[in-house]
């Protein structure tokens, strides 16, 4: 039943191709929505975690540790079943976008914090001595440098976010992996072709991202090594 060389299984797959296209679109929507939310949250929390206020830093710490240490599966289930049994109608897509966004946001916040800490203290002082206020310093001096440093880990994080859309299968989220599994196990048991296609789609999306991130990181290392 895992035979990928049986031609008729591929014919079935081709007949139901629109199912997979729709699922792919759902996965892309989840990834894009999740990414936007994660970037907003991640940068906000990451920058907040370098503020001098103790309380703000404690709150960001709690957020980051909480969402990094609890499985995404559980976060999604918690959110989904909490709403469903609470009588709040909620679509699996909303759960997916919020779940992915909040969870990846915690990881991105750590990346941003690391990047901000990597910028030497003297830069802040130099900016202050030029009469720039906090926002000007951040926008013109610190963030441009930070973003250059954190681009590679952000790329890796993006590919993880795309892979994590598959977690939505646990609440029947209609994402690519869920549809693949359902299609294969309900109809003709054509596991082989269905999983092969699903895996290739994920690989085609994620491989360029991780590869670019790694290449860029190597380039960054070389240029910085040259300067130092």
């Amino acid at each position: 039943m895992t035979d990928i060389f049986a031609f008729w299984r591929w014919e079935y797959l081709w007949e139901d191709r629109m199912l997979f296209v729709d699922a792919f679109i759902v996965t892309v929507e989840l990834a894009v929505g999740g990414l936007i939310l994660a970037l907003i949250l991640g940068f906000a929390v990451g920058i907040a975690s370098t503020l001098p206020s103790r309380i703000v830093r404690a709150v960001t710490r709690v957020y980051v540790e909480l969402f990094r240490n609890i499985p995404l599966t559980l976060q999604v289930m918690f959110f989904y079943y909490g709403c469903i049994y609470g009588g709040i109608p909620i679509s699996t897509r909303t759960v997916g976008i919020v779940g992915l966004g909040v969870c990846s946001g915690a990881f991105i916040a750590e990346i941003v914090r690391g990047g901000l800490n990597a910028v030497p203290k003297g830069q802040y002082e130099a900016a202050a001595s030029q009469g720039l206020n906090y926002f000007q310093t951040m926008r013109k001096i610190i963030l441009p440098q930070t973003i250059r440093i954190i681009l590679p880990p952000l790329g890796t994080q993006l590919s993880w976010l795309i892979l994590d859309t598959s977690v939505l299968s646990v609440i029947a989220g209609g994402d690519l992996l869920y549809v693949t599994k359902n299609w294969a196990s309900n109809g003709t048991l054509s596991y082989g072709p269905a999983y092969l296609v699903c895996g290739i789609i994920f690989f085609i999306i994620c491989y360029p991202i991780t590869r670019t991130a790694r290449k860029y990181e190597e380039k960054l290392k070389i240029t910085r090594g040259g300067q130092g």
Binding site: R68, N69, L74, Y81, Y85, S166
Partner: protein, 232 residues
């Protein structure tokens, strides 16, 4: 408030607590087994990639790239159907094992690259075989350096055991979900939002405590190796 406490007491009775503990032990066993197996396999692959010539290197690279760019849950589903031997536990866990091996291979490779090639040559010049050089000189140093990354991987593998419930392996989260599904049996009324909050909240606390302890261990170790490296 007392209402909530009685609800908690009804949900966590002797039957469910025993089931939860059993499930948690199973999660530990699965995570431990997967980690141990993938540590061995990943180290082997990393050695092959670094020292065993171009063709092996290529093959390992392809393996790593494939498994790092596809979802773990995908491999669990695939291996559950396609892995040729073993019972359902082994078949489901093998998917995670393959994915984890790829990650650990990358981790160990980073450690191997940080070790000076001169050490290997020095070992060879002392008449040690390649195996002896690896076993006695390179790997001990390398593995010590990658301990922090390995703990990170431990955390993610333990978190990912929650995927195994998707193929009906009775791990911790699967057990929680079952208790929620049959909550009316224990509480005497229909399933409410607070039941979901109590059960998943408990699960979240358990996962958090375990993973937070691991990451705290990581921080302590990290500081130790940092200062240790400087003083030595």
């Amino acid at each position: 408030m007392t209402d909530l406490i009685t609800e908690i007491q009804m949900l966590f009775n002797s039957v469910t607590i025993r089931a939860l503990l059993r499930a948690l032990v199973l999660s530990f066993e699965l995570a431990g087994g997967i980690l141990l197996a993938s540590l061995c396999a990943g180290t082997l692959l990393a050695c092959l990639k670094t020292y065993a010539g171009k063709i092996f290197g290529r093959i390992v690279t392809i393996y790593v790239e494939i498994f790092r760019n596809t979802p773990i849950l995908f491999w669990i589903f695939v291996c559950y159907v396609a892995f040729p031997f073993g019972n359902q536990y082994i078949r489901a866990a093998s998917g995670m094992f393959f994915a984890s091996t790829a990650t650990i291979c990358e981790i160990v490779r980073g450690g191997l690259n940080s070790i000076d090639r001169g050490q290997i040559e020095a070992g060879h010049s002392q008449g040690l075989s390649t195996f002896q050089v690896m076993y006695a000189i390179v790997l001990p140093q390398c593995l010590r350096r990658v301990v922090p990354n390995f703990i990170n991987q431990t955390i993610s593998v333990f978190k990912d055991t929650s995927f195994l419930g998707q193929v009906a392996i009775p791990e911790f989260l699967y057990c929680c979900r079952q208790i929620l599904g049959t909550a009316n049996k224990y509480t005497g009324h229909g399933i409410e939002a607070r039941d979901a909050f109590i059960i998943f909240g408990m699960a979240a606390i358990v996962y958090f405590i375990i993973n937070f302890l691991l990451s705290s261990l990581l921080r302590v170790l990290h500081q130790n190796t940092m200062t240790g490296g400087r003083t030595r």
